[in-house]
Symmetry: C3
């Protein structure tokens, strides 16, 4: 199997950005945990006073966790689909555009989620990214059928 | 590194189907959320009346979320393992069979889960897919050791 | 696109180990569920007496689930980043070292988590793995930019 070098490089760059974006969510969760003194395991807050242990206690912590989970559910599918997509002979311009739209929509999704910007902002960011994923899925399935 | 074209195409097709299957879970969750009026973030139900905000409130919403989460825990591992597996020189017939069994078992898993079909149906679907994953893992680890 | 055979084989081996490690978490969760009689769906415990159905009821079950979730959030990103990283012309020695450090740190993370070993053990295991991921992310983004 061969793939165009530039297509692969474009895929690799946007994938790198998206995975690092997912990793950053862990730090944003940790930041809220320290700020709101809400940890998840009994051993985590042993040396702090007034610690709340558990899930679902602090709204700001849960908000970051939901944004993180939404990334797992949508960015990982993109990374698989986009990789297979570059083997379907797309033009470099189309692939770059699609990868940029997805990356932009998912970064917007997190910003909108964490800043509590009113709906339908988050629904829109989600739909743009999901429609991109479904487009890639359609291209992959029909090409390799 | 080279891989047989037909093996890669078979992998790409079943991967495309499985990833789209995972993406569909988001829509099934949204459908239950609107049906049961149970949303996850305060800003989501701002314009509806009688909205319940939170996790763990509605059994039907939670059921779809559990099926979705189970997909993340099992389908993503398959996508990685099956990709590495096609580089271990399997026969096309074996690989196709293994990919079909896994895809069928995971689609069955979701159907059984969402329709509340009594156990051990779900346990069986889960085990068929997981044993397939462990088989692929064994092949990959021993081949590349 | 071409990649060194030995680099790919090293990647494939450690990826196989890590994915199987993630799959094992399902069995560790099931073990705690049977031990503590705490299942997640009403149909699961139909034939057992004294069954508790739900999430967040049993601390030992939740602990395994958190370790599992943490794997999804960190091991899957590694599998994507490490794959792209082997196309950035790293030396085989460096790549092997990086993959070993990550694999060791994530196995330690689970051991420390499940045995409730006091902090900062888990924080350290987490940070070693996450810094490795960020290093790979940095290498991938700068190389393919």
């Amino acid at each position: 199997m061969n793939v165009d070098k530039e297509l692969f490089e474009t895929y690799a760059f946007y994938s790198g950005v998206l995975v690092v974006k997912v990793l950053v969510m862990s730090f944003l969760t940790a930041r809220q945990r320290f700020k709101k003194n809400n940890f998840i395991s009994p051993e985590d807050g042993a040396k702090r006073s007034g610690v709340k242990i558990g899930v679902g206690i602090d709204d700001d912590v849960e908000r970051v966790r939901r944004a993180h989970q939404n990334d797992l559910e949508n960015i990982f599918p993109f990374l698989f689909l986009a990789f297979l997509y570059i083997f379907t002979n797309p033009s470099l311009a189309t692939a770059t555009l699609v990868f940029r739209i997805f990356t932009g929509a998912r970064i917007m999704h997190t910003i909108v989620y964490l800043l509590c910007i009113p709906q339908p902002s988050r629904a829109l960011a989600f739909m743009v990214a999901t429609l991109t994923n479904l487009y890639l899925g359609y291209k992959v399935i029909t090409y390799f059928m």
